[in-house]
């Protein structure tokens, strides 16, 4: 955007930081409390990328919603995930979608994932110190194959094979790192994505609701499905019991 309305104070960045910060517990005394709390994950394997997210939105101890769409469909071959401030993610990724479309029109070819993530990172760099809160993964399949980038509000941009972002990310990493292999079959990969999110929602109070899973293929992304994590809990519990008594 070419210009934004900024608070008419001496130091707008400082003002934003003090009154519009997003943080677990630290924003409960502000006038504006932000919606956050999440587990999102994405990993690359031989047959593409699996993106798996939860759908809970919390404002302090209050669960604002259990049905938030945390995977943002930037265009038919680019996906972005949402963690941190919901408004920041939704707005800036939609803005990224606009920038990607402009690139397509100007250059007559699709934008690469590296370039798309760099555009987002540059936007974040511009607003450094202003209190934006966004931890996202930009993923897609371009000329160079499946690509996965992590971008956050500090303008950190990292390329990688496995990322998990959000309050429940450490729990998801536990399951993900232990069972990840690049040669997983598509079904095994989807199962791993589901399980990692389930385990994170089980332990992290700020994550829960529905698990949405997407698969990024050469032809673009497809939505694999949605599962209520509560149902997954009993499903996996039954599996454990069945495994113990064959």
């Amino acid at each position: 955007p070419s210009s934004f309305v900024i608070p008419a104070v001496n130091n707008p960045a400082e003002y934003c930081r003090q009154n519009y910060t997003v943080g677990y517990g630290t924003d409960t005394n502000q006038d504006v409390q932000f919606a956050k709390g999440t587990t999102t994950l994405a990993f690359k394997f031989n047959d593409g990328i699996i993106v798996s997210v939860d759908s809970r939105s919390t404002m302090g101890p209050y669960i604002a919603s259990q049905t938030v769409k945390k995977v943002i469909e930037i265009n038919p071959y680019l996906l972005g995930t949402m963690a941190g401030g919901a408004a920041d993610c939704a707005f800036w990724e939609r803005n990224l979608g606009m920038q990607c479309r402009m690139y397509e029109l100007r250059n007559k070819e699709r934008i690469s994932v590296a370039a798309a993530s760099k555009l987002l990172a540059n936007t974040m760099f511009q607003y450094r110190g202003h209190g934006l809160s966004m931890g996202t993964m930009v993923t897609g399949w371009d000329k160079t194959g499946p690509q996965l980038y992590y971008v956050d509000n500090d303008a950190t941009r990292l390329k990688g094979d496995i990322f998990s972002v959000g309050s429940g990310s450490t729990y998801a990493y536990g399951v993900l790192d232990t069972y990840y292999r690049p040669d997983l079959t598509v079904d095994e990969a989807i199962d791993l994505g589901k399980r990692a999110i389930y385990h994170a929602t089980h332990r992290d109070a700020y994550s829960g609701g529905i698990n949405n899973v997407y698969h990024v293929k050469e032809t673009g992304w497809v939505k694999v499905g949605s599962w209520d994590v509560n149902d997954l809990h009993y499903l996996y519990a039954d599996e454990k019991i069945a495994a113990r008594n064959p």
């Binding site: 990172a121 760099f125 950190t156 941009r157 990322f163 450490t170």
Partner: protein
């Protein structure tokens, strides 16, 4: 939030030393935030061109933006003037950019610039976050400097061979593994000499 921005990160380890006709630079490969490690395969030594290595420590946003800015301007200079910048010129250019930005929007990046020029031979420059520039025989950035500067003081001498330099680097890595709280399992090592830049195994 205020205090978070003012804290200078010193978790990255970057070290470098001059040898006989080369500069060897090593960096750890961890990229982390708070208690979470994002990646153990981060390359913190940028190859500016075929005769210069740029090792940077600090937040990835600042290091990436600063190094890309410098690199693009170096390429522009080359196109305009049909000659490459020397290591000396590059170091002073970087220092000037950091100094100008210091009172406006500082780049939080510690730099080690190592290069090989035909005339000047091997040279190593140490630039810190406040844009202080020194030409050195060896340098370390981050908390690691507290442990490693003494190792370098003891071990470095004029005219080291690549094998001898690698041995010194191995001693440094071993010391960090013994005494440094932050686990840094992977290190990337690069060497620049008259033949260009190459990767070396620890």
């Amino acid at each position: 939030e205020n205090s978070k921005r003012a804290i200078i990160q010193k978790m990255d380890t970057i070290l470098a030393l001059k040898g006989d006709g080369f500069v060897m630079m090593a960096a750890d490969c961890s990229s982390a935030r708070s208690i979470l490690v994002f990646s153990q395969t981060q390359d913190k030594i940028k190859v500016l061109d075929d005769s210069k290595l740029l090792g940077q420590s600090g937040p990835q946003c600042d290091t990436a933006n600063f190094s890309e800015y410098i690199q693009k301007n170096m390429t522009l200079y080359e196109l305009n003037n049909n000659m490459k910048l020397s290591t000396h010129a590059t170091a002073h250019y970087m220092r000037r950019e950091l100094a100008t930005a210091l009172r406006k929007g500082p780049y939080q990046t510690n730099i080690l610039l190592g290069g090989y020029d035909e005339k000047a031979g091997e040279s190593l420059y140490f630039i810190d976050v406040y844009s202080a520039l020194v030409k050195v025989n060896f340098g370390v950035h981050g908390h690691a400097s507290n442990f490693l500067l003494s190792v370098f003081d003891r071990e470095w001498k004029e005219g080291l061979s690549v094998d001898q330099a690698l041995d010194v680097v191995r001693k440094c890595v071993a010391e960090l593994r013994t005494r440094f709280l932050i686990a840094q399992p992977n290190f990337i090592i690069k060497v620049v000499d008259a033949n260009g830049v190459r990767l070396v195994e620890l």
